[in-house]
Amino acid sequence: MVSQYGIKLATYLISASYGDFCSKVCECLLSRGTLTLMQIIRFTELSRENVVNCLRVLIHQNCVQAFSIQQEVAFGEAPKIVTQYMALFDNVIHKMRFPKFMQIVSEELGLDCLGIFEGLLQHGRLSLNQIIDRNKQTPDNSDVHVVQESFSILLNARLVERCPAPEPFLAPSSEEETPAKRRGTKSAKIAEAPKTIEQRALAEATPMESIRFLMEIDPLTGASEEKGMETHNVATLDEKWKQDFSDAELSASGRKKEILWRVNFEEFVRRLRHKACIEYVRIRLGDQSGIVLSAILELTRSSETTIKTDKSASLSINDIYDEVIKKDGGLGMDLERIRASLVQLGCQIPTTGIDETYSIDLKKIIELAQNEEVESVVLKRYGREAYRIFRLLSKSGSLLETDKISDTTFVEKKDTLKILYKLWKDGYLHMEKVSVNGPKQTLFLLWEINKESLWVRVLDEMYHAALNLRLRITYELDQEKEILQLPKEKLIGELEKRYKRLGKVRIILESSLMNLDGALMLFHDF
């Protein structure tokens, strides 16, 4: 379940973008979990028409996923199939960082792709025909071929994907099914936790990897889906484009169905994760290590299957070298310098020179960045001594007694106790009392940091801060709305000062929000 302020932030984002009705429905789904249509109507107390339209908008904007499931019925009755709806919290929060996605597209792929991409962000889902039509109505409309080519580029870069199935059916799974029986997990040493119904629905809805980024299926042969997968990936433009059915495929009933496309959030999160790792390494270990890491990540990016990969794929030293010299500032690096950077990044140089491959532990880098973030919060809020204590506890990873902490960090025992108590009250530390029965009964206090619960708390505080920032921005703009409606000539003297102040305030607040969003991703998505 999502934390309290996470829900509030998501609800606010929906309300600001899509109105109060949609935000009520979204809040209902986030706080109560997956529901059916009737349940949503009952809990939100909105009319059926309104709920239906809100769900249509939210599904179209990728904030809600529907799936159908067989409901348990009394003995003797025919099994009922109901549709349930789940809110996609991550996608809602992604709305805050749409500009960052746009920046990636604009920097890497250019303005034509950016135009298409912006349309996908605005509408959530579009078919290729809709993209073309929309482009015709923009002021600087380009030729149809340019549009199709730009779309093709976006697809090949995996920044755009096919929309998930609108209503996948989850076959009733036997609860007795153990993880080992599922395909592919027989060799798993650690038993996976059984998937929740929401995870199963998402897995079921996602198109298969082989067609997820596949543009067309040969319309001439009228191929079925299986045959379509065998055809080669279409990157070349030819006369087929001019047909209306160029991006249609046969639906189950045999009608031609237009494919809808949407932004592939997974890929953008992956790229932002890489950016964050590279930036962290660059600041902590130096430019050269940053260049080496960015070279490695660029080469291994396409082989990552999940967002939160622990280690990058292995690369040989020669591949790394080839990529490094292509980068800015990497030209002067030779193999020895690259090896030195790799050691800094935590790799070990293999002793046998035959198979020199390296892989980077990305999870470790993310953890280090997270630790630094929390430690800086502790420093700001509780002071330098608290920071030292916190770092000690964070590094030791086990329960430490008050006196030991005080001795190691050179803090007075009284102050140590005060600080520890304050941190414990605010939920940063976990405390245990141990009493020893000896000649005198003494009570020892042991302290430790529980990373999982602390990270959840820190993340919730960040959601709270982001919500506050957004509210403050809205408030400031609201205060000065008369000024904003004045024509420019009337803005002199006092009014002009207020206007300029508003501009500065807005830039400061929004920039802070962008930075905070980086920290949010660090704790939630990376």
């Binding site: 899509y18 609108p166 009608r255």
Partner: protein, 208 residues
């Protein structure tokens, strides 16, 4: 000494029974000390602009759902109905959802789907741009931004141009949104973009 203390206590208790609470004005954002100053940098200016544009688009689009039939019933009628009002309202109302969202069973769950009576939609009917005037303004801004990168010599000439453009755009904006009373939200900053742009050209501080 004890008596004194007790006496005081009694006196205090008797006198401080229930005084009316002092009324303080409620400050939504009171001043806090020791917060430090925030960093002002225009590194993220483009990101802020993009976000602002996205928000504006969503607020003016049919995705900003405001209730179905209730809305149309509560439309405010102006005091003196004019024939031109009726026409402009029809022209400027938001397009319906199904212009953009495919409501057939292939794309939405069965219980949310709508019959395919209106499937055939000519591409010209769908309005992808809610405000062609708005897009026009943005272009102006971009062109102006390119021109005035620190050139102060042309300032006077620019002032005249901007004022003309500003007036023209404002007229267009007013026409377009005069009947959008129901759909206008509090923070509808259609004009502010322009004002920011214009300010940008006059000072060196970039606004948006």
């Amino acid at each position: 000494m004890a008596f004194r203390g007790r006496g005081r206590g009694r006196g205090g208790f008797g006198g401080g029974g229930f005084r009316a609470a002092k009324q303080e004005p409620f400050e939504l954002y009171p001043e806090l000390e020791d917060l430090g100053t925030a960093e002002y940098s225009t590194r993220n200016l483009q990101l802020i602009k993009w976000y602002s544009n996205l928000q504006k688009y969503w607020n003016s689009s049919p995705y900003y759902y405001e209730g179905g039939s209730e809305r149309t019933r509560n439309v405010q009628k102006p005091d003196v109905e004019r024939l031109s009002d009726k026409n402009s309202q029809v022209a400027n109302a938001k397009p319906p959802l199904w212009h953009f969202i495919k409501l057939d069973i292939d794309h939405v769950p069965a219980e949310l789907a709508r019959g395919d009576k209106k499937e055939k939609l000519g591409s010209k009917r769908v309005r992808w741009n809610p405000e062609s005037a708005g897009m026009h303004k943005l272009d102006l801004f971009e062109k102006l931004e390119q021109k005035h990168q620190g050139q102060e010599g042309k300032e006077n000439k620019e002032n005249e141009d901007q004022e003309e453009d500003d007036e023209r755009n404002e007229e267009e904006a007013e026409e377009e949104f005069s009947d959008e009373g129901d759909y206008e939200q509090n923070e509808y900053f259609d004009d502010d973009e322009d004002d920011y742009n214009m300010a940008d050209d006059n000072d060196d501080e970039p606004f948006f």
